[in-house]
């Protein structure tokens, strides 16, 4: 069983771009221990090693044809910060 420690919580926080409070961390450690303890029973499941994972055999990709999308104003409509044309994001390149 994997150890649920602070290092793992830090790693998962980083992957998911979240930061837990101290109280949330302790609760999350306990919860993950319980949940991972339960789901570890998957290792007993009598599956074979072939990678079927199939949902169906159809080719379900649509044709690569240009289609009407949304107007720029619509796409920007819900942005918390924006200009007339762009989403505004924090600066990432030093000027």
């Amino acid at each position: 069983m994997v150890e649920i420690n602070d290092e793992l919580i830090d790693y998962l926080q980083n992957l998911m771009r979240v930061k837990l409070s101290d109280a949330e961390r302790d609760k999350t450690k306990d919860d993950l221990k319980k949940i991972l303890g339960y789901v570890s029973l998957l290792s007993d499941a009598p599956t074979d090693d072939t990678d079927k994972f199939a949902w169906g055999n159809e080719d379900s990709f649509r044709a690569d044809l240009p289609q009407v999308s949304f107007e720029r104003a619509d796409i920007l409509h819900n942005a918390p910060r924006k200009s007339d044309e762009y989403f505004k994001a924090p600066q990432t390149i030093e000027s």
């Binding site: 998962l12 998911m16 949940i35 339960y38 029973l41 619509d74 819900n78 918390p80 924090p90």
Partner: protein
């Protein structure tokens, strides 16, 4: 107890000019004003907008432009289904104020037949939960006992129907989120075959499991709504070409109905088991052949619940990456602090997501991460294949599988919130249906100590019509589904 009109009866009354669409909406809002302080089924509603819409629909009915049996009938829409210009926030702070610039396909279809949306129904945040307790906009309460949960995550949808606030509602079901609140609130609901209903505009939780479906006061209403919202949609490449043939209504006589022995083992409340077995006896009276069976693999229910949780959290961790505080929704950016990009992501997501969401996406990240992917995620996918094979075998011997929906009746608010395992085990009977993409109809099976007991009829892919026929026969002979609570 009291009786409430069905959606089809309301639609008939509108067509027969016994009542107008505006009066129907007003009736719903009278219930909303009376009951919402107790049950809190809705996150938001707009009476003026609904009345305006009703006036416009009535004009189209009067001119003959709208003739559908559900034209003019008010409904509730779960808060994860996009409705253009109307706040759709998935019960999360991170989408507070978010107004989609498009309608979900299901919303477009219902608009097209003259349905009137009264508001957005409360839910567990991002559909992650089974009790409608994790909403950032308050807990929804069970109208049968306001100290108990209504179930989830479509708790608000089920309550809106049970409380007389809407004639039907749309919910979504990823691991039982239509069926379980139906069982707890005494409503009828359908989780369609995966692909039968377009997910375009459904704000995603787990894309290989999510399906939108109807919740209503009887199966005829559910079937009528399903007929409108189902169908191939080029905007959802997982939607299916296969038609549902809902007008074909096979007789129950001669159908083979199976009860999975494993589901009736330990953990199932005795009174719930008794009601489901009573229902099985009634199906026998209708001429169905009823027997018990075992899945060919032992412990299938446990493997399935574990695999479901791994797959759902993995998909959620990917689907929720889009919430970054930049494109839409809540942002923690501060001009004063000159927040950098990483902190903007971290702070927006940490403040915007609730604890249940954070836990699930972190678990999802874990099972997808290097070193753990094979043992957890890949293994869960293989269990899913095994499960599909199991069900394919079952459906060579049976036409319908009858089972409980939940191991108990509605539990007290706060009782299970702190124990993630109780939540997982509570989904034991429902998640297999989503994992295999099967359809299921949930309907009332009686009462235990004054609380509703639900059962589900599970069928082969795209055989919703078989389930609807069986449910319809049951509802002709019983009156459990006609009873609704007087809310105190």
């Amino acid at each position: 107890m009291k009786q409430l009109q069905t959606a089809l009866d309301a639609g008939r009354a509108v067509r027969d000019k016994k009542i107008g669409a505006v009066e129907l909406v007003s009736e719903c809002f009278r219930s909303i004003e009376e009951n919402e302080p107790t049950v809190h089924a809705f996150i938001n509603f707009d009476k003026d907008a609904a009345l305006e819409r009703a006036k416009s629909v009535q004009a189209d009915i009067d001119s003959g432009k709208l003739t559908h049996p559900l034209a003019g009938v008010p409904f509730g829409s779960k808060a994860n289904i996009s409705t253009k210009g109307y706040e759709t926030n998935c019960a999360s702070k991170i989408l507070e104020g978010y107004k989609p610039v498009f309608d979900a396909t299901v919303a477009e279809k219902l608009n097209g037949i003259g349905a009137v949306c009264v508001g957005k129904c409360n839910m567990d945040e991002f559909a992650m939960g089974g009790s409608t307790e994790t909403s950032r906009y308050g807990v929804t309460r069970n109208p049968w006992d306001k100290d108990r949960v209504p179930g989830g995550s479509s708790g608000g949808s089920a309550v809106s129907v049970a409380a007389g606030e809407a004639f039907y509602a749309l919910g979504s079901d990823t691991g039982g989120s239509i069926r379980q609140p139906c069982a707890f609130c005494n409503t009828t609901g359908i989780k369609p075959t995966y692909g039968a209903v377009s997910r375009y505009g459904l704000i995603a939780y787990a894309s290989s499991l999510d399906q939108i479906g109807p919740i209503a006061r009887d199966v005829a209403d559910c079937a009528a709504v399903l007929d409108v919202i189902s169908g191939k949609d080029p905007r959802d490449m997982t939607s299916a070409e296969t038609a549902l043939n809902l007008d074909k209504k096979p007789s129950v006589s001669g159908l083979r109905i199976g009860l999975p022995r494993e589901y009736f083992a330990k953990g199932l409340d005795g009174e719930v088991a008794e009601k489901v077995r009573d229902a099985a006896k009634l199906f026998e009276k209708f001429g169905a052949e009823v027997s018990e069976f075992d899945f060919s693999e032992k412990n299938m229910a446990d493997y399935t619940a574990a695999a479901y949780y791994v797959i759902a959290c993995a998909e959620a961790s990917s689907n929720l990456s889009r919430y970054d505080g930049i494109k839409y929704g809540y942002s923690a950016f501060s001009e004063k602090d000159n927040t950098d990009l990483l902190d903007n992501y971290v702070n927006s997501r940490s403040e915007g997501f609730g604890m249940e969401v954070k836990r699930r996406i972190m678990l999802g990240a874990f099972v997808l991460s290097s070193g753990f992917y094979d043992a957890y995620y890949k293994k869960a996918l293989r269990v899913r294949d095994l499960l599909r094979e199991q069900w394919a075998k079952v459906f060579t011997d049976y036409d319908i599988v009858l089972s409980p929906v939940a191991p108990t009746t509605a539990y007290k608010i706060g009782e299970n919130l702190d124990d993630p395992l109780k939540m997982i085990l509570g989904d034991m009977y429902t998640v297999a249906v989503n994992m295999a993409g099967l359809p299921s109809v949930a309907l009332p099976a009686g009462f235990a100590k004054g609380l509703p007991v639900g059962m589900q009829l599970i069928g082969r892919h795209f055989e919703e019509n078989v389930l609807i026929s069986a449910a319809s026969e049951f509802q002709k002979e019983t009156d459990y589904h006609t009873q609704f609570p007087i809310i105190k």
